[in-house]
Every structure is written in C-alpha cells, then in structure tokens.
Symmetry: C2
DNA sequence: GACGGCTAGTTGTCTAGACAAGTGCCGGGG
DNA sequence: CCCCGGCACTTGTCTAGACAACTAGCCGTC
C-alpha cells in the first residue's frame, strides 16, 4: 500500500523515481505535514536498493523544503502553508495558472533599436550596437498586470523578428533556434510609482505603487544575453519567498537570512 | 600550496572541513569565479578520503550557490557579480555593513499586547492570547530605512522583556535563552504607499513608495514562532536576487525560474 | 515515584569500490 | 583539410557495508 516501486530499466535515476513518488504522496495529502516519511532503512530494504540511494531521495526532498530530517528521529513532511506561492516569484505564467487564470501578452512593439547606455553597459555591447526590443503588456485573463521590456543583442539572434511568435516562449525560441541557453539571471526589485504611460497601459491611476524589476540573464559562459525591465502592479502582484537557515549560517535558499 | 588539510581527530565532519577551506579560498579570491575547483578525484586522493566524502563537500558548496557542477567538465566557482547584494534580501544588518554604514535600531515600543486576528491566525494562537510586540525603526547611520514590527507568543518567551536587549540580536537571544531555533521563514513582499505615521517615522513624504514585508518564522517542527510586518523605504531599499535554472526542473535557488 | 541503563530505531558520516555518461583533446585516416 | 575513434578526465549514480550519535520507550532498581 505504500506504492513505492521502481523501474530499473528506466534511464531515470532510482533516487529520483523515489523522490517523485514521495513527493506525489505528499502533494496528494496521503502523507500529511508533520508525519514521518519512510526511513532510509525501510526504503532501502523495501526496494532492495542501497541505503545511500534512499538517503539521496530523502535529502533531495529536504533541500526543496518539502521535508526535514532530525537525527535519531526521522524525516518528516514539512508544513506547507505557502505551498501555492512558494518559489513562484516573478514567474508570471505559473502564478497566473495557479490562480486559475490564463496568462497572455499584448505586444506593444517588437523592433530593432540602438542600445542606450544603460542596456549597453548591462549587456556589454559596443556603443550604439543594435538591439531587438520587445515590449509587452502581461495580462491575466483580460486584466493587465505589468509592462515588460526585453532587450537582446541583434547579433545573437539576427532574424528573431521573423522566427519568434511573441505569443510563445521567448526562452524556448532562443534555445531551439539559436542554441542560446540561459542558465542564470541577476535581478533587482525596487518599489516605485507608475509613470503616466505605465498607468495608462495598466489601467491604474497615476502614481500607483508598482514593482520595478530589472533582470540581466546569462548563458553558461557568463555572457549576458538579455536585459529586461518590467513594471508590475503593486495591487495585484506579490512576491513570495521561503527563507531557510543553515546551522553554519549559510543559506540554501535564494536569500540570506535576516538577523533579528 | 592547495592548503587543503584535515584534522581527523576533530569532531567536525571531514566534508565540512573541506567545504569551509574551499569556501575560504573562494572568499579570499584565491579561487576566482569561473575557475574550476579541485575535482572529487583529486580531493579524495590528496586527502586520502573516499570520493563520496569529497563529493559531499563540493555538493554542499553547490547547494549554497557558491559553485556549480557540469557533468564531464568539473565544478566551478559561481559568478559573484551581485555578491554584495545576492542573498541579502531583507538582511538589514548585512546590507548596511556591505555599504559601509553601521546598522542600528530605535525602539518605538517593546511591550505585551493581545493578538489581533491576523497575528493569531499566522501564529496559530488562541483568541486573545498575549504577545510580545517589538516595534523598531531600522537605521543606517542616522538615516531611517524602515519600520519593523515583530510579534512573538508570550508563552514561548515569558520574560523576554527583561532578558532581551533590543540593541542585540533577537534570534540569538531566542536561541540561547529559550532554545528557540528558527530554521525557516515564509515571506511575502508587496509594493505600497507609506502611511502618514510611517512617512513621519521614515522622514519621507506621505504616499512615497515602500516595500511591505510580511514574514512568518518557524522552528524545525514547523511551529510558527514569529510574525513580522515591516515597511521599508522604496527610495533606499532594493531586493537583489540570483535566479538559476536547472536542467531537471528543480530549483536550488529561492525562486523559481521565469519563462520569458 | 524517580532515576538509570538497556535496546531498537533513526539519521549522520564515511569507506572503497563500480559503471555510465559527458567533455575535451589528440592523432590517424580519409 | 575534416571527421572520427580513442583516451584521459570529470561528474552522476549506485552498491554494501561500517561506526557514531541521538531518540524514545521499556524495565528494573533504588
């Protein structure tokens, strides 16, 4: 009834199969917060695998914040109060879907422009180098949520204007057509007030509070390939985060820990 | 000269000793971003330990975002462009120190109050249960940066009013005096406008843009022990984050990846 | 009843291997 | 010149153990 089983022919690692099955039991509510997960010993005997492999499955759940371990006691399902928002910061599409609304975009402009100093600096471009600039209003159902302006060096994707359908995923197009695989981004968030143009596009009153996001995305070599500035409605948008503290003082989460 | 060495008599785990030494080499600049760390094989031969132990040291650096691994290539020091801000979201003390300014606080009130519904719900309290409430203005040098209101159930720390010096670290006091070890927090960030009182305390004009933070902190069992609401100046405060994308779909950072 | 020791169960750490799979380079054959 | 195979190196996964350290309950002694 524990419905743990393995496909040893599969290319999927054993620990990952176990991790996914446990995760599913947690998500489905069969394993409730605070309740113990099967022990490393139990899993390894039951599935006839090494204890280290079972351990790897449990530890991966811990590193995601889904579970926690206590020496001498066991591994337990973590509380899941913020589950719905957890790790969804800025993930526009996912957040909209979690709310049951369909995300889509309205393209304001999609064109080639010359880089201003700010973008040139962020993307390490030659002065006046050409950019692809894509400005969109991000919508949830028919309600505008934010304005987003994405800049890419033209030389990296010279025919993007023809090859990219702005209603699809930009990142997927970059990966499939140009072999540009973004693996990391640095992002800064500020609180500000909507400009008159933003207020009009977002259908809010002037000087409403907004989030200002500035993101620089990089490929594996560290080269910056994308610069995005966006403005999101403060009344409709929240950032949710889970912070974690490690015993030594280094955080495994996306943010460092606050000292009280 | 690689200055890796072990104290086998120490109670400190071997992998942790290695991790700390590598971390120190990275922080000191002897290992630069993009450069490879010693391979698992090299470390295990050099220190005469098992490869799995060397691996554990490297993996722990990866899980902290200090390094990253590429199958077939090696483990490398992560880029640190945003190092100063990276993972410092809401870490008031550290951010101030990074700017070269000294953080301190001005206590507005430190008293016992009855829980309102919002706090009672967050901390799972009985109706009307007593709280310790600490309101502070967070300052950088002599400039106010934010207002913070911290609430703790009185029954968990009955004599905190006497035992805690508000100029010291609250978390350290909770750990040392009451054995309350906070290991996780869920936080929500909103963009808003300063209220008249906040504007006065922060010395900004009314209706200036501000960040609103709401944090619920938990001990390992999942029990909520702290509820914090704070308001920080939008003109002085930024949130910096590094997002990382993994091939699997499991994020090691604190936030999930945005689809372009 | 209080206390202490024993024991079973659990996670933490560590060993000494194994094979798979991806990367980068070099050299040989076309 | 270009391509491809082989080789060295690396990380990813897995095995089958070992001992240490901690927890919780049980039981007998004081």
């Amino acid at each position: 009834m524990d419905s743990l089983n393995l496909d040893r022919q599969s290319a999927v690692p054993l620990y990952f199969q176990i991790q996914q099955q446990l995760l599913q039991q947690i998500r489905s509510g069969r394993l409730k917060p605070g309740k113990p997960l099967p022990s490393e010993e139990f899993i390894s005997r039951r599935l006839r695998i090494s204890r280290m492999t079972a351990r790897q499955a449990l530890k991966s759940l811990c590193s995601e914040g889904v579970a926690y371990s206590r020496r001498g006691k066991g591994t337990f399902v973590a509380e899941t109060k913020l589950e719905k928002n957890f790790r969804q910061v800025l993930s526009f599409s996912e957040e909209m879907e979690a709310r049951g609304t369909r995300p889509h975009s309205k393209v304001i402009s999609f064109q080639v422009v010359s880089a201003n100093q700010e973008v040139a600096e962020a993307l390490d471009l030659a002065p006046g180098e050409k950019l692809i600039q894509l400005r969109r209003v991000r919508m949830a159902d028919s309600s505008p949520m934010g304005v987003e302006c994405t800049c890419l060096p033209l030389r990296l994707c010279p025919d993007l204007l023809e090859k990219f359908d702005p209603r699809t995923s930009l990142y997927r197009t970059l990966a499939e057509v140009y072999e540009i695989h973004i693996v990391q981004a640095d992002e800064v968030v500020e609180a500000g007030l909507a400009s008159p143009e933003e207020a009009r596009l977002l259908q809010i009153s002037k000087a409403s509070p907004v989030f200002l996001f500035t993101r620089t995305s990089h490929v594996e070599s560290g080269q910056a390939v994308e610069y995005v500035k966006s403005t999101f409605r403060g009344d409709r948008y929240k950032i949710a985060n889970r912070l974690r503290r490690q015993s030594d003082g280094n955080s495994s989460g996306g943010v460092q820990w606050t000292q009280g």
